[in-house]
Structures are given as structure tokens and as C-alpha cells.
Symmetry: C2
Subunit: 171 residues, 2 copies
DNA sequence: ACGAGATGGTTTTAGTACCAACGATCGCGC
DNA sequence: GCGCGATCGTTGGTACTAAAACCATCTCGT
């Protein structure tokens, strides 16, 4: 996100003499207006940047980064239901179904029907899932250490605290 | 996202006497493990929470929140090309095409072929687009003031600064 | 028991996103 | 002029997401 080393190039179309606002490269002199100072916008940029970085970090991994939190939460909460998992992970339960289908097909998790509630599943990692999780965890730790080094230890706690406040307050 | 007012309900299936880790409500006692302290995870939660809040704020608006930054950037940079816009907005240019198709179909923007470069378009708001943007801007201002009140004026600058650092550093 | 209402999981639909590949066009060196 | 390489916008493929409709099942009041 935010073009890495944008490499300024001569605009080919619009001519800079007339309209400062509309060159074709759009690398530097774009007017962001109020966006410049809006939290929501920067939150989105930072999130996608972080996600992209994680994706690069997890390159060659057998599991896409999106699966990671899912696996970890199952590992930490064996027997959790799909609905509870979806809430913990802040995704709609309908999003989870196909993901779990895939993980189950790959023998990384198990879906067990409890006797007392035949609607729900109890989710568990298989041994293969456990070791996959270990790999991913190492990867995610590298990623988060990277973020930490960008933020710096001094700001980290406050930053995390503010994120938590936002999450809690926006329900 | 994150069901607003989760409304604690008695677990129907799993029984809390035996497994503290696996009740069906999943509201409070989920073990997040290392996720608890990872920046990336909280960044995602905060971003989606903010996005959802914005969606609620813009309820009944004719435009989805995702369109907002697009409209604003066109309004601020009349004549901008699609590629430049996609970079400014940090999205792939291919994502933009169908969005602009829609906005154009609704007569909110115009695509003008410049004479000197018949590959590109110069994007502009129509008068209808302008007034739509005004509405959305008011809406976004309410939203961002809301975020501000959660964060508090003391932490705001540092928080924004950290977001900017992350965005810049992760390219 | 029994029926109304709530809950768990799936499916469908629609929106959003990236990447790779493509045709059209442009710029530049020759 | 000519042609190579780059750029602009689009398309096709894949992936992820939420919302709503749906069925099966469970809970609870009566």
C-alpha cells in the first residue's frame, strides 16, 4: 500500500503547467483534503499495509495469513463452537463455514458433534494442525516484532491501548 | 462485526462446569493467547470496527462507505487518472474500474478522454456528485469526531503518528 | 408435552480486493 | 517514420467478507 518507492515519472497526459492538481502519476501532489487527518482512513491504510506485510512474511507457507487467527483460536480454545469462534475472531459466522470446510478437508481441524447439542460443533486441532500452527506462530511473531520495531517500544503500549479502546467502544 | 450488545445467554451445549475454555457463548472467556498482545490483530479489529461504525453512521445514505474516499479524492483532484487515484487510495487499479463504472452510471462522476492521451481518463465529479460528497463528508466528520472522542485529544496525535509510521514503513 | 422463539451452521448473493494478462496507446531512441 | 518498452484501463480468475434466508435443533413458559 502506498506505492513502495513511487519512482517519479514524467506525466504523459495531463500537463503540469496548467493543472497542479491532476497529473497522471499521482505520487506526491495529490490533495488528500480532510483525509489527511482522519483516523479512519489511516486505520484502513495501516491495516492493509500490515496485512500485506504479513502475507509477504508468510510466503511459501501452506496456509494463507487469514487462516492464522482461526487456527490459533481453535488451538487455544479446544471445543469452541463456530459461532463463538466467529465472534472471537470478529468475522461473520457465514464467513467461517467455508474456511473450516477447507481446514477440515486438509485434516488440520476436526468438527465433533457434541451429544447434548446436535446443532453445534466442537472444533479441535488435529496433530497436523498443531504443528502447522507452530509454524504459523513463528511467522506471525516475526511479523509482529517487525511492527514493534517500526512503532518503537516507547509508543507501543499507548498505541495498543488506543486500539483496544477503539475496539471496545465501537462494540 | 462483533455483535453489538452480545446479550449474554446461557450456554446451551457445553457445560461450564467441565470446560472453562469451550462454552458456546464465547463472549468473554475466550483465550486469545498471543493474539492478546499482537498489534496486527488489534489493527484489524479496530479497522473493521471503525468501518462498521461508519457504515452505521452512513445508514440510509445512497453511497456505501467504501465509495467515500474515492469521491473525495476525485473532488479534491479533478482530472486525476484512474491509476493515480488507485494509488492515492491504496487500492489496485482493477478494483477501481467497476466502482467507477457504477458511479458513472449513477451520474456522480464523469470520465473524460483527454486529447493528448487517449488511454487514460480524467475523472471529475458531476454537480450531483458534489452534493453527494458534501453529505458524505458531513457524515464522515461525525464519524471521525466520534473516533476522536474515544481516543481523546491527548493520545490522538501520537496515535495518528504511529499509524503514519506504519503505513510509510510497510510501504 | 407442546408450541413459540432463539440459536447453530449452511447456502446464496453481492460487494470488495488482488494479481496476471491483455489490447490500445504513448514515448523515446534510432 | 519505426519499433521497443512502458503505461492506461479492462477483464478474468481467485479469495475473502457480510447480510439474509433457510433448516435443524434447542430452551423455556405454560
Amino acid at each position: 500500500m502506498a506505492p513502495r518507492k513511487p519512482r517519479v515519472r514524467k506525466p504523459n497526459g495531463a500537463d503540469a503547467r496548467l493543472r497542479r492538481t491532476a497529473d497522471a502519476t499521482g505520487n506526491t501532489d495529490v490533495d488528500y483534503g480532510p483525509l489527511e487527518n482522519w483516523i479512519g482512513f489511516h486505520l484502513r491504510l495501516a491495516q492493509t499495509a500490515s496485512f500485506q506485510a504479513f502475507t509477504r512474511e508468510a510466503k511459501g507457507m501452506a496456509l494463507r495469513p487469514g487462516r492464522f487467527a482461526t487456527m490459533l483460536l481453535i488451538g487455544r480454545n479446544p471445543g469452541i463452537s463456530q459461532t463463538a469462534l466467529s465472534r472471537a475472531n470478529s468475522r461473520d459466522k457465514s464467513t467461517l463455514s467455508p474456511v473450516l470446510d477447507d481446514l477440515e478437508r486438509r485434516k488440520l481441524i476436526k468438527r465433533v458433534r457434541p451429544k447434548n447439542d446436535r446443532r453445534s460443533y466442537r472444533l479441535e486441532l488435529t496433530p497436523a494442525g498443531e504443528s502447522m500452527l507452530k509454524e504459523l506462530t513463528a511467522c506471525a511473531e516475526r511479523h509482529d516484532r517487525n511492527l514493534d520495531s517500526i512503532i518503537g517500544p516507547r509508543d507501543r503500549e499507548q498505541f495498543l491501548g488506543t486500539l483496544r479502546k477503539l475496539i471496545a467502544e465501537l462494540s
